[in-house]
Amino acid sequence: MQLFWEILVNGFIVSSIYALGAMGFSLIFGTAGILNLAHGAYLVLAAIVAWFFISYFKLPLPAGLAIGILASVLFSYLLFFLLVNPIDKSKRIPEEEKAIFVLTATLLWSIIIEGMLDYVFGSTPVVIPPFVSGSMHVFEISVTYNMIILAMISLLIIGLLWFAINRTRPGKMLLAASMSRTGVAIMGIELKRVYLLLWGIYGILAGISGVLLAAFLGASARAAPELTGMAFSIVVLGGLGSITGSFFASYIIGYLGTLTAYLISPSYTPLPAFFVLVVILLLRPQGLFGRF
């Protein structure tokens, strides 16, 4: 029985953090049609910058986290202005090949970020200090308050995101752009502004999930591709471009991983997720909640 509760509670916490981690990736694909293969690098970037300011400049935790998130936003805009926008505007790249060019560019961008992080901060994994100390006993197992706080923050931010997208004007602009870019442009909304907003939100989301992930599992530049892969699996399972789908898929992937780790062996953790992915891609390529 203890095992059951442990899987249930740990799976829930892991899945909630994964869910937040996949949100930004899902949003940017759904709205701009871009598979950002540097996603993992953004998570790690925010985490390492935050860790650096907290442990070297002895900044208080919230200030350090804010700087980490700021770094992620800054790089998010850099990606947009240096790579995504020029490729989108380029007349020399055929229209139907733009997607693969952007994909390759984000892949290269990821290598650049990882290489620089490795060079400047070293490759030892960093851990963000716990937000609160202490632990509590529930259902025969002990859970640290820190883990509970992390899961709560994740869910809170996902809730806020949901509210912002479905209930506010700028959010509706994003939603509309994800359905039809031309339609949005005809309604007199400047697409450039939509993209600026989108990449800003993306940077914030990636930054927050990066620091939360590092507070839970730690982070190192080497882990970036693995994190991108995780976000990838979640988003595909949920359906490319569907935020609700990504949310539920995180729990499926999170629990599958936790189950495997507890019942078989931690080293097999990613395998069931991949198998689910292959089956889903073959039987229902649009994913569980996919729109297309």
Partner: protein, 306 residues
Amino acid sequence: MRFSPSSRNLLTFCTLLLITLVCLPWFLSLYIAGMLTIALYFSVFTMSWDLLFGYSGEVNFGPTFLIGIGAYAAALLNVNAGLPVFACVLLGTLTAVLAGLLLVAPALRLRGPYFCLITLVSVLVLQEFITIFAQYTGGEIGMTLPGVLSASGMVNYYLALALVCVSAGVFLGITSSPVGLILQAGAQDPVAAESLGFNIVKYKVLAFSLSAFFSGLSGAMLVFYMGTASVSIVVSVSVILQIIIAAIIGGRRTIVGPILGSLFIIITGQWLQYLGQLDYAAVAILALIILLFFPDGIAGIILRRH
């Protein structure tokens, strides 16, 4: 705007490239010739990828699925069954072709990003399997092979060059024939191509088996040249990245471009090694610049029609 080099330009260029590659090892140290040998095997990977991407329109994000299966099948047969090198390479190549046929089914069903994903996942699964069956495959470290292609560096270099010539010949022959046009038509509008009476499935199977054949063959020969088979040489995601980057900066849809791209990426990689940890980032920055400002790649710059 489509880039298609005029055939005379291309012929002159290929001849020049071939003469350079044949003569090069006479002037170079053994170390550099060894590096070029790896670059040559690597360029076969890249050309095979270009056949699928440039002509058949399939964005294969898992070229190392085919390469890795060919290489590992050959290596496992050599280590565990003790078969001679020649038989291992042959059987490894056949296994790779079977793996290539396995990819045709999703390729026919899935479009765009979905096919990218499934190919990428296939590599991750292969990597997991290699780790799980570590007692046979050597896991992360890889395995040392008892068999070698040849002890002489020169023989190895010319073997690799011969493979490059054969595969480039086959690829150029296929792509400049009507088959190449049908492949491109199938990539751009499968429905229209089928309604003209072409059996797209047949041509896709051909493209995938050719790509898998040469990927597997080159992978198997590469591990026997290196003397070890490991994930970091023939399977890992960084190998995939190098292949895709090499094809794009060399010039996609040209077959010759990928050879240049591969030589470029391996040689600059070596030159930039003194940068230490920054070497990958430096290659990536170079590749990004080429990608943004010269989307037709090195071959596009050299073979541009005036």
